[in-house]
């Protein structure tokens, strides 16, 4: 038996045991089962990845079960393992295992923990089915499965109206993307006669330049198919237009944000485009669309990130923006760079989210950075972990010496965009450079607001509650009685008498391990992912262009140094605005008033969609119901007929003696007529 079966199905098994059997086995065993299953999956995944790194492994497909056979359409449940899958395997299982562990601490006070762990494991199973898919339909299964798990986890605190609304929004907005994905699969089957990914990729070049009729017009076949599939990717990966669900998804518990809405699920769209990169390569138009959408997203999300106050929302927009980078890479024909950024991003973004969770944990569920400040000394391990994450995302490093993870991957994307020499590539490059400036700014803004300066905790309602509870119930395990006594005296120092504590070990351990990833992932693996010999590593699992790789290394020096320059500029800007002269942000945002409000309100996408889609849908529904069904169809149909009958015959319509008998009579007369007719004939 191939280990992949264990890797994929252990989490499913654990989810079933924990989810359905929780009442029998209890809370702790349920948590234990899921966490152990994930660590086992993780332990089995790394050897596979390493064997692909050193070139000793071959791609394999492990069939599991027949799924659907209908005419020519024939596909199975099967588990594919190749380089691309191996990368995703370690990303998914590692982050998931660490998030499971972290949740022991973070969700400790939650009464409904086994349900949480079951959902997490279910998610991991679905994600693994997605990345091991050998055909488009199984990919869609995983795609929707992670959507379901995401829905359940965003809505985990289902009592909160905002959480259940966000869960529903995530599912429905994703379904808009799925519409494209499904039509893409239909079209692909129509054109290629199969949904098997390897078969499609092999046949795709032969269809380049062909035309297809679609919605009454004729288009380039591959462009239509790729763009339809890409619409699916846009939904899952929260690209501009279909991104509105991602910030709201932060309603879910923070470990969920780290696992699903940062490291794994949202990268599924990038994975899909990379998996199908030989197909996308046959349509220049589709590639341009991917690049433009990615570039627009990375810019737009970064602008919003600079204005948000909720620590999780800043990181959420940052995720959205980083996904844009990955699409730019995929769009300019550098799937290797896209996957590399996906890989490093998983570590440092999960780290940032889990770090934020640790801060939120320490700050008694307060998420507004306006009420943070000065936490550096109180939660030092969290601080250093987040520092590593920030160094990684802002891409700190010296060319040819050493850099944190994001330095290698983000810079390779920018170099590839520049080196591609196309107009969308250059657009992506300049947008990417500008967004890198914003990335550095908002990341350091987050760090400065949270960890530097004076505490501003006393204005926070959460903190006030915490302190109040400690007084009222007299079981304050954070502070000594002496401090309690002077609590109100402390008000002037901004702490409000609150004493944040570092998180427990189960939460810190994942932070430390992910920090190692954030520091080293780029340095250790860039040779495999994006060097000129990458063909050996990728082994045809993605369409890589040797030519582009070569050009990447030949870009002008200023292109190589530009990301470094904007990173320093962003850091300096954040330092000036949030440490040296804290009056600047308010004055600046007042000065650019309308523009600030536009960005702060997330470019008014939610308001727009509400006005254009949600409200009209409800209004139309009411019109179709009241005016259509009742006002027209019923009025002129059955009610009208009843009126005619009542007026003409005045027969009381009663059940037993009325129309039922007449109905039976009609039937009988008909049958008698039929019989006599058959006989007489």
């Amino acid at each position: 038996m191939h280990p992949i079966q264990f890797i994929v199905f252990l989490p499913l098994l654990a989810a079933l045991v924990a989810g359905l059997g929780a009442r029998l086995i209890g809370k702790v065993p349920a948590k234990l089962v899921t966490t152990l299953a994930l660590f086992a999956s993780c332990a089995l995944s790394w050897p596979i990845f390493i064997s692909f790194l050193n070139g000793s492994a071959q791609e394999s497909v492990t069939p599991v079960l027949q799924w659907v056979r209908s005419g020519d359409l024939d596909f199975q449940w099967a588990l594919r393992v190749d380089t691309l899958t191996a990368i995703m395997l370690v990303v998914v299982t590692s982050v998931s295992a660490l998030v499971h562990l972290y949740s022991w601490g973070y969700m400790d006070e939650e009464p409904d923990q086994s349900r949480f762990f079951a959902y997490l494991s279910l998610f991991t199973f679905a994600m693994l089915m997605l990345v091991t898919a050998d055909n488009l339909v199984q990919m869609f299964f995983g795609w929707e499965g992670v959507g379901l798990a995401s829905y359940l986890l965003i809505g985990f605190w289902f009592r909160k109206p905002s959480a259940s609304a966000a869960a529903m929004k995530a599912f429905v907005v994703n379904r808009v993307g799925d519409l494209g994905f499904m039509l893409g699969i239909f079209g692909t089957f129509l054109v290629f006669g199969t949904v098997s990914i390897p078969a499609i990729l092999a046949a795709a070049p032969g269809m380049a330049g062909s035309t297809i009729g679609f919605l009454g017009h004729r288009f380039d076949t591959m462009t239509v198919l790729c763009i339809l599939l890409f619409i699916g990717a846009m939904g899952k990966s929260a690209q501009l237009g279909l991104h509105t669900w991602l910030p709201d998804a932060m309603e879910g518990p923070t470990p969920v944000s780290a696992l699903i809405h940062a490291a794994t699920m949202v990268t599924a769209g990038v994975f899909m485009v990379c998996r199908l990169s030989p197909m996308f390569a046959t349509s220049e138009t589709a590639m341009h669309v991917v690049t433009y959408v990615g570039a627009a997203t990375l810019f737009f999300a970064a602008t919003i990130g600079t204005t948000q106050w909720d620590i999780k929302r800043v990181i959420a927009y940052s995720t959205c923006s980083q996904l844009g980078y990955m699409f730019v890479a995929a769009g300019v024909g550098a799937p290797g760079a896209a996957m590399f950024h996906l890989f490093t991003h998983a570590f440092f973004k999960a780290l940032l989210f889990l770090g934020a969770g640790s801060v939120i944990h320490a700050m008694h569920h307060e998420q507004d950075m306006r009420y943070y400040g000065g936490l550096r000394k109180h939660i030092p391990i969290t601080f250093w972990a987040m520092m590593m994450g920030t160094l990684a995302i802002t891409g700190v490093g010296i060319v040819d010496v050493f850099g944190f993870a994001g330095f290698y991957s983000k810079d390779s994307i920018l170099e590839a965009a520049y080196a591609s020499g196309t107009a969308p590539g250059h657009f992506g490059f300049f947008m990417g450079i500008f967004a890198a400036l914003l990335t550095s700014f908002y990341s350091w803004r987050l760090m400065f607001l949270t960890f530097w300066g004076k505490p501003r905790w006393e204005q926070s309602e959460h903190i006030q509650h915490a302190v109040h509870d400690a007084h009222g119930h007299g079981h304050d395990d954070h502070a000594h009685g002496h401090d309690d006594h002077h609590a109100h005296g402390h008000a002037s120092d901004g702490t409000g008498g609150y004493h944040p504590h570092e998180s427990p070990l189960v939460m810190l351990l994942p932070l430390v391990l992910l920090s190692v990833g954030a520091v080293l992932a780029g340095f250790v693996f860039h040779g495999s992912f994006i060097s000129e010999g990458e063909g050996e590593f990728w082994k045809n699992s993605v369409a890589f262009s040797e030519h582009l790789i070569h050009a990447m290394h030949g870009v002008p020096e200023w292109v190589k140094w530009a990301p470094f320059a904007v990173m320093v500029a962003g850091l300096a800007g954040a330092y000036v605005a949030y440490i040296a002269n804290p009056g600047i942000p308010a004055a600046f945002s007042a000065a650019i008033g309308p523009l600030y409000r536009f960005v702060y309100n997330k470019w008014y996408f939610d308001e727009l969609y509400n006005a254009v889609f949600v409200k009209p849908a409800m209004a139309l529904g009411r019109v179709f119901w009241q005016q259509g069904d009742i006002g027209i169809i019923d009025r002129f149909g059955p009610n009208g007929a009843a009126w005619v009958v009542a007026r003409s015959s005045r027969i009381a319509v009663r059940l037993q003696s009325g129309y039922l008998n007449s109905y039976a009579l009609v039937m009988l007369v008909g049958l008698v007529g039929a019989v006599s007719w058959v006989i007489a004939r």
Partner: protein, 526 residues
């Protein structure tokens, strides 16, 4: 094959049970009904296990002349087998759902249900046109009675509407059938399925049958009887209405309209597509604004049935098989959803969405089942709802990308109204004290939910079990439709090639839909 006339036995058993129920009191009537439906379920299992997949087209045939040209002629193919299986599977669950809910005139109630079972199985087994007609029309009488006697406050209006809609269709269908028998000289359904009616006559016959089947389906705009009927019917009535009675329209199309009038079917395909597109969008939007849980699910049924009709009129294997799978899946899922509504209706006696809320807190097991069936209704891959919907939409895409696009919006709207429902009923805080005090599922309710959940997942993960019996019959139908198949709008054309390859090019440039059809026909012939 099997040593005794199993089909007649399956018809007879519920009939005998019905007579016994009429004479029994409440307690014994429900025991009899349960025993009888379980016995028919066992017979159904025997039937399936003895059905030879890939064997003769018509199996378990029985034949006896009655009088004056009327014939007792039974027999099933794979399509009928699946629908019979659905019927006998749902019946014991319906009896279970009525267990405590029905108090007045219980004997008559159960007798009605058992008679309905006989008639429903009769529809799917009849091989004589007039026998089919009797079963098809008479099957509605017990349903009228169930709605009219054991229904809610507005039951008279609801059953009246049901009656008016069906009446028109039946009359036209009867006339058409008489004409058909006259023209072909036989009322034998298998013979008629292979008979070539003149194309001009097909048009009128198709329209006459369409009037009946479209109402039963129901297709927009003849759907307005359904929400009222569902809302007023008792829980078990809704289950069987959504589960089996709605499938009769689809069965009619697949057994009569398509094989008997292929040319007319192709001619009217745009009409069917148009009505279906309208149904998907309009009824989904209406479902979005409902306050009554049952009405919401009823409107969602209309939207789902529209995907069935586009699949049937896609003229290819995926469309036809997908439609059959949706019918089976919808029978289970809509049935399960009505059952789920019944569970809380039994406790609180209201269908108003606003009267519930936060059920996940006091009814966690219920919330889990409701989630599963909601997801199946939305068509989540891995549940039964997905496979059929996917195949149907894939089928119609080969004909028209516009129709596919509009109908696929159903996956967005479906998610919206179902999750909105789930959010209001199961999520949120417990704002109503009486709803918060409701106990979770009891043993009887578990026993009804578990089999439904199991089959819903089974059909989603391994639909081969349900595809295999009908494969050959669908292939035969597909082959018969091939002559009339409209040309799809995709028409893939390869890029211009150098002249040397020109002769080869022609073969390659052949529309893929055609290639698929070739392969399908080839397979069907094997």
């Amino acid at each position: 094959m099997i040593g005794f006339p199993i089909l007649s036995l399956m018809l007879l058993v519920p009939l005998v049970g019905a007579v016994a129920c009429l004479m029994a009191g409440r307690e014994s009537a429900r025991m009899i009904a349960l025993a009888v439906t379980l016995l028919d379920l066992v017979l159904g299992a025997v039937l399936w296990s003895h059905y030879q997949i890939g064997g003769p087209t018509w199996q378990f045939q029985e034949h006896a002349s009655i009088f004056a040209g009327f014939e007792w002629k039974l027999g099933i193919d794979g399509i009928a087998l699946l629908l019979i299986a659905l019927t006998v599977f749902l019946m014991p669950i319906c009896i279970g759902a009525s267990w405590n809910a029905i108090e007045k005139r219980a004997g008559e109630y159960y007798a009605n249900f058992l008679i309905m079972e006989t008639l429903m199985i009769g529809v799917f087994t009849a091989q004589d046109l007039f026998l089919f007609y009797i079963m098809f029309e008479a099957g509605l009488i017990p349903m009228y009675l169930i709605i009219g006697i054991w229904g809610g406050a507005d039951r008279i209006y609801a059953s009246y509407k049901f009656f008016l809609y069906t009446l028109l269709g039946s009359v036209l269908m009867l006339i058409a059938m008489m004409w058909m028998v006259n023209e072909a000289g036989t009322s034998d359904i298998p013979t008629l399925m292979a008979y070539s009616f003149p194309v001009k006559a097909q048009t009128w016959l198709w329209l006459a049958l369409f009037a009946s089947f479209a109402v039963k389906m129901p297709m927009w705009p003849t759907h307005t009887w359904l929400p009222d009927a569902h809302v007023q019917a008792p829980t078990a009535g809704s289950v069987i209405l959504a589960g089996v009675l709605l499938k009769m329209g689809g069965y009619g199309f697949i057994r009569f309209s398509l094989p008997m009038f292929p040319e007319a079917s192709a001619q009217f395909a745009p009409l069917v597509w148009g009505l279906s597109m309208a149904a998907v969008v309009i009824t989904s939007l209406i479902a979005l604004v409902q306050h009554d849980i049952k009405k919401l699910i009823a409107y969602s049924s209309v939207a789902h049935m529209a995907i069935v009709t586009v699949g049937l009129f896609a003229f290819n294997r995926q469309g036809l098989e997908g439609s059959m799978l949706i019918m089976l899946s919808h029978g289970l899922v809509a049935g399960a959803l009505f059952l789920a509504v019944g569970v809380i209706y039994d406790r609180l006696h209201t269908r108003e969405i606003d009267r519930y809320g936060g059920l996940a807190i006091n009814m966690p097991a219920y919330a889990l089942f409701f989630m599963l069936f909601t997801m199946a209704s939305i068509g989540l891959p891995g549940t039964s709802g997905f496979v059929g919907e996917f195949l149907s939409l894939m089928g119609i895409y080969a004909q028209s990308s516009w129709v596919a696009l509009i109908c696929t919006t159903g996956i967005i709207l479906g998610a919206a109204y179902m999750l909105y429902l789930y959010r209001r009923v199961v999520f949120g805080v417990q704002k109503n004290e009486d709803a918060a005090a409701m106990p979770d599922l009891d043993k009887r309710e578990w026993a009804m939910m578990i089999p439904l959940a199991a089959v819903v997942l089974w059909m989603g993960v391994y639909p081969e079990t349900f595809l295999a019996p009908m494969r050959k019959d669908i292939a035969a139908l597909d082959a018969r439709l091939a002559q009339a198949r409209p040309r799809g709008d995709a028409d893939v054309q390869l890029a211009a090639m150098p002249p040397a390859a020109a002769t080869h090019e022609h073969g390659d440039a052949m529309e893929h839909g055609e290639q698929a059809a070739h392969a399908a026909r080839h397979e069907g012939a094997r």
